[in-house]
Amino acid sequence: MKKLLVIIRREYVSRVRTKAFVVTTVLMPLLIVLSGVLPGLLFSIKTGGATRLAVLDETGRLYEPVRESLLAPRRRDTGDDGRAKAGAIPMRGVTPEQREEQMREVTRALGTRYEIEQVSAAGRPRDEIARELNARVLKGELDGYLVLPPDILESNRAEFYSRNTSDILTREQIEDGVSRAVVEQRMRDANIDRERVRQLSREVEIEAAKVRKSGVERDTGGSFGLAMGIGIFIYAALLLYGQVILQAVVEEKTTRISEVLFSSVNAFQLMMGKLIGVSLVGVTQIAIWGVAFAALAGYGVAAAAASGFDFALPSVPLSFVVYSLLFFLVGFLMYATIFVLVGSMVTSEKEAGQAAMPVILLSVMSVYLIFPVIRSPGSTLAFWISIAPFLSPVTMLVRIVTDTPPFWQIALSLAIGVATTVGLTWVAARIYRTGMLMYGKSASIPEVLRWVRRA
């Protein structure tokens, strides 16, 4: 027992003390956040100064409205042009006025500023003006120019010339602005009261609420996120630490340390020490992430609430926290044991990677199965995949979040998981010693089966 503790301690300390541990602990959450937010953020930030735009208004009366709507974009005048674009977060349960204000904030922060000038035709032919404008665009005096043809109110067509037409965001904003100006002009022409249209064409908001035993709870999309998040997180943790265990085993095997170890302690202690030690490293890292995430989420929601964003974190009942820990633990040990097995059967890290593929595929499968489970958590399919070993750690938790199944199903799933883990440990203990002392070639499956029977 004392030796087991010594082994656990070494496996733990030698990993937690490495730079790699510190780096992954800090970088992993950053990476996740960045990979989710960064592309949108980068795309929506336009560097450099304002976009210089020339407008050739051939209708003679649209320049001012277009200019206005481009400089003060996104008013929900007509009700159909206010769709959240520009990477904005969908917000529900907010009055249109609040939302409009928020949108302007977002646009100011992220959007394009324009410097707009009018091109006077002054009787010159269109070609000549276009040549002149093209020249200015090429010289860099202008970023682009907009042509509003005389029949724009009927044809719904305007032209935009620019050096860079792949800046979709700018294009969309311009399209948006011109559309609004044109629609308003049409209304004026038809003597329709703008204000009245705006009032009549407000959108309907659906408020999702989750019915629980404890009552009804408003859901702002958080519980879907939570279900996905938990599932993917567990999957990632299993793989990450599975690899760590695999490496640890292969290291002892390739460096032949195992021989010294086997002459000091028995194989079972050695294997369990490794499993527990590396698991504790995982638990430590996850605890750090968990605390940091909880703090951030708490802060973030508070901050968002203060600035008018409405985003309720789904309430997490204590039972769910307990289930998460239980399923995580069982799943972790289940996969870890398999990785120990794989590690003791191969001869190099490269081989280990290949041999681990089926295990990895199994865990990937459990992530894909999250989707059918979220869509119909009460189905027969969901039942079977949420009690199946290797899948249950991810799928059962997702079921619990989306539509908590009866307790007996949860208990059954856990029991099957525990039984599988115990069985695997039993097999692994029999194979570990022989596998670890076998050099030169990887074990074949029949060979391994023989060891299990003989040990």
Partner: protein, 321 residues
């Protein structure tokens, strides 16, 4: 038998084969306490397999192995120090941490382990490397570190597989000195080697195995006596008459400063000496010429030394030795 008179190690009719390949066949041997026991043989003879069975890494197919009168078990592991032929240390671990770990696995407390590590590192001139990671050390230094890991917990029985391989002459001398000290402290040491010079310097007893079988076993002295060409180096004046009896002297080879007298079948060298003295010969040198272990090894294993094809390779765990 009391704990102190039971042999440190006893193998009885031990066999082990890997598939078709017999690595060890019907091997019996006894290692007495406080002795240095050499397990000798060419590559592929079965030395390493034997040692692996002794330290309970692989199980014999047949036969019994007893350490200190008991079958090998967990409680005996702490009394063993085992240096495997294939050396291995954690590459990224500091030397000091590594030694503490291995010692703790042998039941030492962390504090005792640190003290022992300091003592032994100093003894092998490795103190300044204590805080370094293993992969910063040379191969030879790693080997010495591993040796420290083997002996630092004061094992009653040391089992060293090819302890001298990979060491430069200076380190080898240092290692021999350390082993001689351990021997004088009364520890039992078993080591395998195919380098007969070291065996000759250190061993009390030897066992020669070849092709999985024991060829001979016994104290170095007995073995040498058994294989003596039974010759005496003699320098004496007025000895001639004493050398005439064919029952005692089979032949005389005249060399530069002495004669080499080949003794007859069953003849006693002491009888020859008595006769020389009786004849009033002035004996200046009378010395039994012993064959070197090297000679015995070659004579016994000789042209037969080529290891069986594919020895160990087929099953991996067989290794060589």
């Amino acid at each position: 038998m009391s704990e102190n008179t039971t042999p440190a190690l006893r193998l009885e009719n031990v066999s082990k084969s890997f598939g078709e390949f017999a690595a060890v066949s019907d091997l019996s041997l006894t290692v007495r306490r406080g002795r240095v026991y050499g397990l000798l043989g060419p590559n592929g003879a079965g030395k390493t397999t034997t040692i692996r069975m002794i330290v309970n890494i692989i199980a014999p197919d047949a036969g019994t192995i007893e350490l200190f009168g008991r079958p090998m078990g967990v409680e005996l592991m702490d009394r063993l120090g085992y240096l495997p032929e294939e050396r291995g240390l954690y590459k990224k671990m500091r030397v000091g941490d590594q030694l503490r770990y291995f010692a703790q696995l042998k039941g030492m407390t962390a504090r005792a382990a640190d003290a022992a590590a300091d003592r032994w590192l100093a003894r092998l001139n490795l103190s300044e490397w204590k805080a370094k990671k293993t992969d910063e050390l040379s191969k030879g230094m790693q080997q010495k570190v591993q040796f420290v890991a083997t002996v630092m917990h004061d094992p009653d029985l040391l089992i060293l597989d090819e302890v001298f391989s990979g060491l430069d002459p200076v380190s080898r001398e240092a290692m021999i000195t350390v082993l001689e000290e351990l021997k004088s402290e009364g520890r039992t040491i078993i080591f395998s080697t195919h380098q007969m010079e070291q065996a000759e310097r250190l061993c009390d007893d030897i066992c020669l195995i070849n092709r999985s079988r024991k060829i001979l076993e016994g104290s170095l002295r007995e073995v040498k006596r058994g294989f003596g060409r039974r010759a005496v180096a003699l320098r004496a004046e007025g000895a001639d008459g004493a050398l005439d009896d064919p029952a005692i002297v089979a032949g005389v080879k005249r060399l530069g400063d002495h004669d080499e007298v080949l003794l007859g079948e069953g003849a006693d060298a002491q009888e020859l000496l008595r006769r020389l003295v009786a004849r009033g010969a002035n004996v200046m040198r009378f010395e039994m010429i012993e064959p070197s272990l090297h000679d015995i090894f070659l004579q016994q294993v000789g042209g037969d030394a080529a290891p069986a094809a594919g020895a160990g390779g087929a099953s991996g765990a067989g290794g060589d030795g």
